[in-house]
C-alpha cells in the first residue's frame, strides 16, 4: 500500500496485486476464470445450433430443449405467465422445476454469477468505473429489487401478459446474442451506463428482479461460500471491496455463529476466495464441510449453524 490517499479505486487494485503476489496470478483468478468460462459456455451451447447446425440446445434462456429431450424453463418468466392467467403446458412446468432444483443445489444467484451474460456487462462497467476512478454513487436501497420483483408480478396480473419480458434487459441480452439484437443494444447500454456513472453495482445488486427471484431460490441452496479460516483474517478488506453484496460477508467472517455465507444474495462467484491473500474463504456445502486446513473439530462443527444463530444471517 502506498502513502498516497487510498481511494476505493486504488484500494481494490492494491488488494488484487497483494493476492497475486501471495498466490500467483492463476490462483488469484481461479474462480473468475471458471465463471467466465461458464458464462461463455452457456451462450456457446445455444449458439452452435444456429451458427454451426450442432443442436445441443435449442431455444434460449427463457425456455429450451437440450438435445431435443430435456426441457428447461426460466421459473420467473413462467411465474409471470401463471399470474397472468395462463396454465402452462407440462413441458414448461417440468423445465422450470428442473431449473429450480438445479439452483437450489448450486446456489440461487449462481445464475447471476455463472450464467447471466448481463453479469459480464456490469462487471465490465464496474471494472471501468474503478479504472477511471469514478466514485460518484447514487445510493439505492438494495431491497429495491424486491419491490421491482413485486411490481413486475403486479403488472403481469394487471395486463394479463408476461409483463417484465417487455423490457427485461437480461432476456434482451441473451436473446439478442442468440437471435439477433435489433435495437436491444440501447437498453444494454443503459444498464452499462447506470453501473458505470450512476450507481455502483446498480443493476445486478439493487434493481434486477431476475436476481431477486433467484435470490429467493438461493435461501435454501446447498452450495455456499464459507469463511472457513476466519481466524486467519488480516482485516485487509479485500473481500469487501470485490464482493457485489459486501453486506453478506460480515456475519460469516466477523460473527461468532456460522461461517457459512447464508444470504440468498450471494452469487457463489468465488470473488472473495480469489482475492483473499490468506485463503480464508472456500466453496463448500451446507451441512457438509471438510476442514481443509486440518484444524480442530470445533471449526468443522460451527460450519453447521447452531439453531439460534440462524436469524443473524
Amino acid at each position: 500500500m502506498t502513502t498516497a490517499r487510498l481511494t476505493p479505486t486504488r484500494f481494490a487494485a492494491a488488494c488484487r496485486r497483494l493476492a497475486i503476489a501471495e498466490k500467483g496470478w492463476l490462483r488469484a483468478h481461479k474462480w473468475w476464470l471458471l465463471r467466465r468460462a461458464s458464462q461463455a459456455g452457456a451462450l456457446l451451447v445455444f449458439l452452435v445450433g444456429p451458427v454451426l447446425g450442432l443442436w445441443v440446445a435449442s431455444g434460449n434462456f427463457a425456455s429450451s430443449s437440450i438435445l431435443g429431450v430435456v426441457p428447461l424453463s426460466d421459473p420467473y418468466i413462467l411465474l409471470q405467465s401463471v399470474v397472468a392467467g395462463h396454465a402452462p403446458a407440462t413441458t414448461a412446468l417440468t423445465g422450470a422445476l428442473l431449473i429450480v432444483v438445479f439452483y437450489a443445489i448450486v446456489g440461487g444467484r449462481a445464475y447471476c454469477g455463472w450464467i447471466c451474460p448481463v453479469g459480464v456487462i456490469t462487471d465490465t462497467a464496474h471494472w471501468l468505473r474503478e479504472k477511471l476512478g469514478i466514485t460518484r454513487d447514487r445510493k439505492l436501497d438494495r431491497r429495491t429489487r424486491w419491490w421491482v420483483l413485486s411490481g413486475t408480478l403486479l403488472a403481469s396480473v394487471a395486463t394479463g401478459s408476461v409483463a417484465w419480458e417487455f423490457v427485461n434487459p437480461v432476456s434482451m441480452v441473451q436473446r439478442g446474442l442468440i437471435f439477433g439484437v435489433g435495437f436491444g443494444w440501447a437498453i444494454v447500454a443503459a444498464v452499462f451506463l447506470l453501473d458505470l456513472v450512476v450507481t455502483r453495482r446498480g443493476w445486478c445488486s439493487h434493481l434486477c428482479p431476475v436476481g431477486a427471484f433467484y435470490g429467493i431460490v438461493g435461501t435454501v441452496s446447498a452450495t455456499r461460500v464459507a469463511a472457513a479460516r476466519r481466524e486467519d483474517c488480516t482485516n485487509c478488506g479485500a473481500c469487501f471491496s470485490v464482493c457485489t453484496e459486501p453486506q453478506i460477508i460480515t456475519p460469516a467472517l466477523k460473527g461468532d455463529g456460522t461461517r457459512l455465507i447464508r444470504s440468498g444474495a450471494c452469487l457463489n462467484c468465488g470473488g472473495c476466495i480469489d482475492v483473499c491473500p490468506v485463503d480464508v474463504f472456500e466453496m463448500t456445502a451446507r451441512g457438509w464441510a471438510a476442514d481443509p486446513a486440518g484444524k480442530d473439530a470445533a471449526v468443522r462443527q460451527d460450519l453447521e449453524p447452531p439453531a439460534p444463530a440462524r436469524e443473524a444471517a
Binding site: G59, S73, A92, S161
Partner: protein, 220 residues
Amino acid sequence: MTRKSTMNRREVLASVAKAGGVTCLAGLALTAYVESTSKAEATALRPPGALPEDDFLSACVRCGLCVQACPYDTLHLATLGDPAPLGTPFFLARDTPCAMCRDIPCTRACPTGALDAGLTDIREADMGVAVLVGHETCLNYKGMTCSICHRVCPIRDEAITLERQTIDGRSLVIPTVHSDRCTGCGTCEKHCVLGHAAIRVLPRDLGLGGKGRNQAGRPT
C-alpha cells in the same frame, strides 16, 4: 435482511410505505408501458396454432423454439422496433410466408402451449385471412388475368377461387377469398406482382369485420 427488532414503529411504517410505494410505482409504470405496446401490428402474423393475441401474450415466454423449429426461416423473434411485442415470434407474409408444413414443427416445439399443440391439421390453422384490399390496383380488376394469388395458393381452388363478374359492363375474373378455407399463410401476399401487395393477410377480426348486436349490425 432481517434486523432484530432494532426498528421502532415509525421506521417500520416508513419502510413498509416505501416498499409498497416502489412496488406500485414499478407495477404501474410497467403496466402502462405494456398496455401501450402490447398489441402486434396487423402486418405481424403469429405462427400457426397461436392462441388469441391476449392469451398468447400471457403464455409465450419468448424462447424462440418455434423460430428454430421452422425449416424455412419464416419466423422471427421481435426485437425493439419490430411490429410485434418484444421477443415474441412473428412473420411478415410479404417477406416469407408460412410454408404450411404438414407436421407443424413450430407448434410442436412450443413448451408452454402458447402455440396450441391441439392443432394437427395445418389447413385448420388461423394465422389471419387474406383480403383483396387493392381494388384499384389489382391487375385482375383492370381486366388482365394475372391471377397469381390464385395460382400460388397452397389450398388450391378452395381458399381463393376465380369468380367471373361483370363490373361497369366489363367481364372480369376476380380472385375471391373464402375465409372459411383461408389459413392466412400469406403466400398470395408474397407473390402479388405489384410494388405493394393488393392482397394482404390481416388478423381475422380486422380483415372480415363482424356482426353487431342489432339487426342493422350496429352496436346498440
